[in-house]
Symmetry: C3
Subunit: 466 residues, 3 copies
């Protein structure tokens, strides 16, 4: 007999009854606040075209690197899951997920998926081998209906604003379509220039050529290259962007003299950069981007410390984003100093820092954000976007940086259906943390109520200038 | 008056009553499962010869570096404790432990020792200065009886299988004796080649000569040296081994071209290796061992990150293993890449990773094990084999790697009598962790029951191919 | 209407009722123990001259870098707060603190401040914009009365002994005044030689010249320089010092041959040292100081791992100590080895280690302190002197180092009025930690009572030889 699936009303709250009571009361006031999603990876074409999603595997399994990563770790080939345009039968792929769903016990993927299954699709039995087809059919049928088209889900999810992420070469045509449509959903872009900023990005030299083409600037000339960025940033801003996003391997910044920067650019612009030149160029570009942010007001985000494509064989076969990005120890104190020496005390400049290296929370990030006016801390990120990860974030940053140097939650996901689940999880964990502070008389209850709303909603709007 | 010693039935469970109730129920079902001890340092001669253990100090104090390390840290000389064949009177050594037993408050040694005192020897007063002689006499008398001989204790402890650890130069005669005896206890070996793999090991060149002698291979020739390893691995496997074990200072691996590897071997084979050559050779040998594991099916274990013999004066006087091994920050992401590039996606290859650097749990180890099919995470190790250490391990690995990329518990100890205490502690802590997940509705109760048995018993058997 | 301010009797204890009951009982026995403050930064002139403190802003806001750092991080200029002799109106500065007091939610500053407001000044409404003037007037008026002069507060706070920190160039005249007075308060100094030990300290060469002048030794000669240290240490000891304190950027030590040390000194003594020479000289001086400690019995303290004056613009404008000191990853295992190789096993030598890098707690510091007789662990320090920070300290050090390789609490503060608040916080958190151990049956209740007093009082006296 199938096992029941039900989401307990008190899930994710601390177990101690008085703490739980406080958490429940706090959560009660924020559970229905609209979702502000200032950083993520949903596909704007969904909202532009509003076509139905495909089947369960295509929507929920194949694009979700949290899911196929874990299955791969237990010896299930990516081909069998149909990842990256694999030819696998989607129902068979889904059955593999179902039969191995126990692997996700104790992981946030389990929590997000169960939320989607229960709340979005009304399923009331647990996913396992024997319910695989029931799940596949239920989900796939629902997706064919109008109520499950992207715009309908966007509204049902009570999303106030969502940001996607695009490279400078993107023409943002889907964003244009959305803006020109009569649909009122607010979908904005964010400027992610890695493909034309990172000399080690695949196709970097070709990307510069394309950027020249797109902007009419000569992007083999340092000034032309910078002008092209300014032009694209202005265009992105016009299409709603309020932020830029930078996914560097390290947090290194540089502040070279103009002629040094130009010589460096000339060394790297045709591809084949030496590793140390590539690193220095990325470092310099963070400072250039900071300078442009001071001019155009776009909030800057830095996501450093991922060793991308660690699995060489998989990268050769499938390319990027197949779940082999591994965190690295990251030095913010020395790394950020050149940029901070230049712009750290500028009013109006805002830099949101993320990390995959939790040792930096209490040691580096909270002290930096608790001092520099321009710095804020992004929420627990990626591998740490989880109950324990979020608790560690709060426990290790709050005492030095406070709550008001953080920016609320963002989901950072391409798994559209899980977005409300992720925000719900974050709200519950934050309310639980606040409840512990109240129970230990480290915070008054009226303050906790104010903070619960700030963490769930207000801080994100303010920090991202939405 | 002596203070009572009693082990509370609820010890080590979380304090919150409902969580404790769940933990107790989970523990009830795993408390009596047999002990699987796939990695440790007991002496096979105990089980081969089955001679009585000596006195309390000789069995419980002098070989236990957790105990004499702490006493030494408070200024008690190792001589006075009779460590390393010191001439100290064992009763006097025991009295020193007793009088300083308060030093162990809050440490796992205290928990293990109290278990041994209470459960193995039936003592019901606390160890302190005034009970020192009572303890010494009670324990020493008991050890003289048949019920306390090694095989009797092995059976009383309900050990299903235990692995010892031997170097390639070991002839495994005691293992042969055990196998030829009519005793049914399963005692197997594991292949620990550090003395002939680490160019900085004491007597490395002599060890190679002895390996030549033992195997008939020319171990000053690269191919002969590798053939000798294959021969000894086959012999170890015949004597029950299912695993190898590698205790390197770092997690560095290498994958040199064959001629490069040979030239490197020729540089280091006569001893006096340059530090960078020694490091590179150890790195290369991990990849060679992985290659052999693919052939012979032995599971590979890597225990990196200990600065051995940190106290120069003590090392000069007493040699290895006198408690001055200090953990180091360890980089797995870059270190393992050469080996993983070569064998990371091989079906049938299994590499179990341990760490003394807990910062790697969430940042490196869980993401690696949550992706690579060959990788599994060993349990909290050595300094972290403790209530808080185990909780940190679960909290920091589960959300990314899940439970099924971990391998259950192993005791890694030479303190034979403490083995059940250590497994009991691990089972209690794991049940407590699962209970917290259940209480927070992050896991269903039926799943927790299944997991409790997996963590206590099934995963170790499967991971070590027992 | 103003919100009430009241300090709950159970504040900072764990929420679970049975744990809280145990914590309360433990705390009840230590709450009134005298304060031993063996390391801090109060100003000896306060106790020498016993003049009234000024106004609320001057006493509580302007010298407190925890407070103005956070306000600065949210864009409030230091000028407006009157930091570093800024000309700001103190009432206006105080109003800025009041209006932004919500920034401190969840931080220890909030807990300390509320204690001071409530217990020292009897305020019973919360600090916020509308109570700013009430606060300012109440505090400022009280400070004008005899009951709030330094000596009266010292006695009211039940301080048994307090150590200040002075550089070798300090003449300790205020300490002399105190000793010559008929006041019985015990105020002692500590020897902090950074200005004449760190070649990168501002004015290093001038400081050496001044040291020559003061001691009559030729401090441009290596032997004369060392003799000057010995002379000043003897003088400091005469003025009550029982310890030295060393605030280095790293934990690096060195043990050079005498002629090498002399050549190094000759390279750095005139200022303008190369960074690697500066680092090596600091490293060597730690070993020299250890040698002197063996002779004169002063306990040595090492506080490494702060990147001082990270904010270049603020440092240029305001100089040191304006809240831009940022922690660094710190390596103790390699760093301390030269010193430990030389003096690590010496009876009578004592070195207390602090850290801002919590990753070293379980990985390096507890294993080192749990082995070397000379090493002890200082309490959670600076950014980590907080409820969560102290809990992490205990959770990550106790299982390996025990309690008796730690030294109790020290407040390390210049915020005199907050000293009892800080000790109270530490006592509550330690009692809560002990209570958890008791509730989980990891410690007996009688042992917890003994430990509570040791952690609150006895260990500090013993470790600092007071």
């Amino acid at each position: 007999m199938a096992k029941p699936l039900s989401l307990d009303e008190d899930r994710l709250f601390p177990a101690e009854p008085r703490v739980r009571d406080i958490a429940r009361a706090l959560y009660h006031e924020v559970r229905d606040l609209p979702i502000v999603s200032p950083h993520g990876h949903t596909d704007p074409s969904w909202f532009a075209l509003n076509e139905p999603f495909g089947n369960a595997a295509e929507l929920l399994l194949q694009p979700d690197h949290y899911l196929f990563r874990m299955l791969h770790s237990q010896g299930i080939p990516l081909e069998a899951l149909g990842v990256k345009e694999g030819a696998a039968d989607p129902r068979e792929a889904w059955r593999l997920l179902a039969a191995n769903y126990h692997l996700f016990r104790g992981t946030p993927s389990r929590i997000w998926c169960d939320w989607v299954f229960s709340k979005v699709f009304g399923l009331d039995v647990r996913l396992e081998a024997e319910t695989a087809d029931l799940y596949y059919d239920t989900i796939t049928s629902a997706l064919a209906t109008d109520a499950f088209r992207p715009r309908a889900l966007f509204e049902r999810f009570n999303i106030e604003v969502i940001a996607t992420t695009e490279a400078p070469l993107d023409t943002l045509e889907y964003h244009a379509t959305i803006r020109e449509s009569d649909w009122q959903g607010r979908v904005i872009t964010a400027y992610r220039p890695d493909p034309v900023v990172d000399p080690e990005f695949e196709g970097f030299a070709e990307n510069l050529a394309a950027l020249s083409q797109l902007t009419g600037e000569d992007c083999l000339d340092w000034q032309g290259y910078l002008a092209a960025h300014r032009q694209r940033r202005a265009f992105f801003k016009q299409m709603g962007a309020t932020s830029t996003d930078h996914g560097h391997p390290t947090a290194q910044t540089a502040d070279l003299a103009p002629d040094e920067a130009e010589r460096l650019f000339n060394r790297i612009k045709r591809g084949g950069a030496l590793p140390e030149d590539a690193e220095l160029f990325r470092a310099q570009m963070l400072t250039e981007m900071a300078r442009m942010s001071l001019d155009d007001g776009l909030v800057m985000q830095l996501h450093p410390g991922s060793f991308r494509n660690h699995n060489a064989a998989l990268f050769a076969r499938y390319g990027r984003d197949v779940g082999a990005d591994i965190p690295l120890a990251t030095d913010y104190v020395h790394g950020l100093k050149p940029l901070l020496d230049r712009f750290g005390n500028e009013a109006g400049f805002s830099l949101i820092l993320f990390t995959l290296d939790e040792t930096a929370y209490a040691r580096e990030l909270a002290p930096l954000a608790g001092h520099y006016p321009c710095l804020k801390l992004g929420p627990a990120w990626w591998f740490h976007d989880s109950p324990e990860g979020m608790r560690r974030f709060r426990r290790m940053t709050t005492e030095t940086a406070g709550f008001y140097n953080t920016v609320g939650f963002n989901d950072d996901t391409r798994a559209f259906l899980s977005i409300p689940a992720r925000h719900d999880l974050a709200r519950r964990i934050d309310c639980g943390f606040l409840a512990e502070l109240v129970a230990e008389h480290r915070l008054e209850e009226d303050e906790a109520h104010e903070l619960a709303a700030d963490l769930a909603y207000n801080l994100a709007k303010a920090a991202y200038r939405l």
